[in-house]
Amino acid sequence: MHRMTIALVGLFLLPGAGWAQPTSPLEKYRRLQFPAKDENFAKGWQERVALEYEIINAADLKALRLALKDEDPFVRAIAARALGILGDKDSADALAELVKADKEYLVRIRAVESLGYLKMKPEVIQLAIKDRDGGVSWVAKLAADQLKSDTDYAKQLREAYATGIKREVMGTAKLGKPAPDFSALTSDGKPFRLSTALGKKPIAIYFAAYDG
C-alpha cells in the first residue's frame, strides 16, 4: 500500500503530469521562457500577452497579493498591475509600500499606475511624481489626473481583458490579406470597430508607443 502511494505521487511529479507543471497563470508568468527584459523585446511576446490576459481574468486576489512580495520584479509588477485593474482596494497599502520602497522602477511604475486605477493614496501618488526615475514620475502624473476623473478606468480595462484573446489570432495581420477587425474606444470614449470603417476610404493605422 505504501509503495503504491509513493508510485502515485511519483507519477504526478513526472514532467507532463498534473502536479509537476505550473498550473496558475501567475506561476506560468514566473517561468516565462522570455521574461519582459530588454533582450527579449522581439521574442516571446505572444506568451506575455496571453498570460497577462489569463492573470487578470483569473482574478486570484489572494495569489496576486502574495505576489507583490515575490523575489522576481516582473512578477511583482504584473501582480501590481492586475490588482489595480481588478479594483482590489484591500491591496492599496501594499501597493503604496511598493511605490515608496521597491528598488525596481518597473514595479513602482505598475504600483503607482494601479493606485490611480483604485483612486486611492493621493499622497503616495504625489510622492511618486518626485520619483528619481522619470518613467515613474510620468506615470504618477497621469495617475494623479485619474484621481480627479469620474471615469472608472479599471472597469474599462477589466471589460477589455474579459473578451480574452486566443494565441492563434496574434500576429495574423498579413500583407495582401483582409485587415483583421478589432474594437477600441475613441479618445472621447466612443466605441469604435474597424470593420465599420473598411471599404469606404483608404486607411492608415499607426500603432504607437507613447514616445514614438
Binding site: L142, A184, K201, I203, F207
Partner: protein
Amino acid sequence: MHQQAQLRLKKDEVEKLGAEVYVVLAMDLHRTRVFKEENLLLSKGTGRFSKEKSLVYATALSDPAGYASAVYGVARKCLRWGAWVENQPHWFVIDHGGTLTFMLEPKFDTPTAYEKDVDRVLDALMKGRAEK
C-alpha cells in the same frame, strides 16, 4: 508622438486623398486622451513642435488590453531602453477594399526618418485610393 507630429504637417495631403488615419495606443482611455490632446513630450524641447498644444491629427484609439496590438503583431509588453514598452510602433495601410497593402516599422534612426516614413505611408494611401 514624433510620427504623429510629422503626419500633422501633411494633414492637407491626407485630406486630399480622402483617407482616414487612426493612431492606436495599447493604453487606457485617460492616457490615450492625453496623447491626443496634450503635447507632453515635444513641448519639453526647443524644436519646431515645442509650442504646439496638440500634435496628433489622427483619430486616437484606446486599445486598453492590447488586443488589436497583439492581432497586428506589434505587442511587446516588455522593457526597452530602460522604459516599459507596450508596443513596437508600426504603420499599416488598408486599401479601399479592406486589404492590408503596406506595413512599415519605423526605425527612428535618422533626424529625417519621420518625414520619410510619413511620405511612404501617404504613397501607400494614394495607391490604395488609385485602385478604387
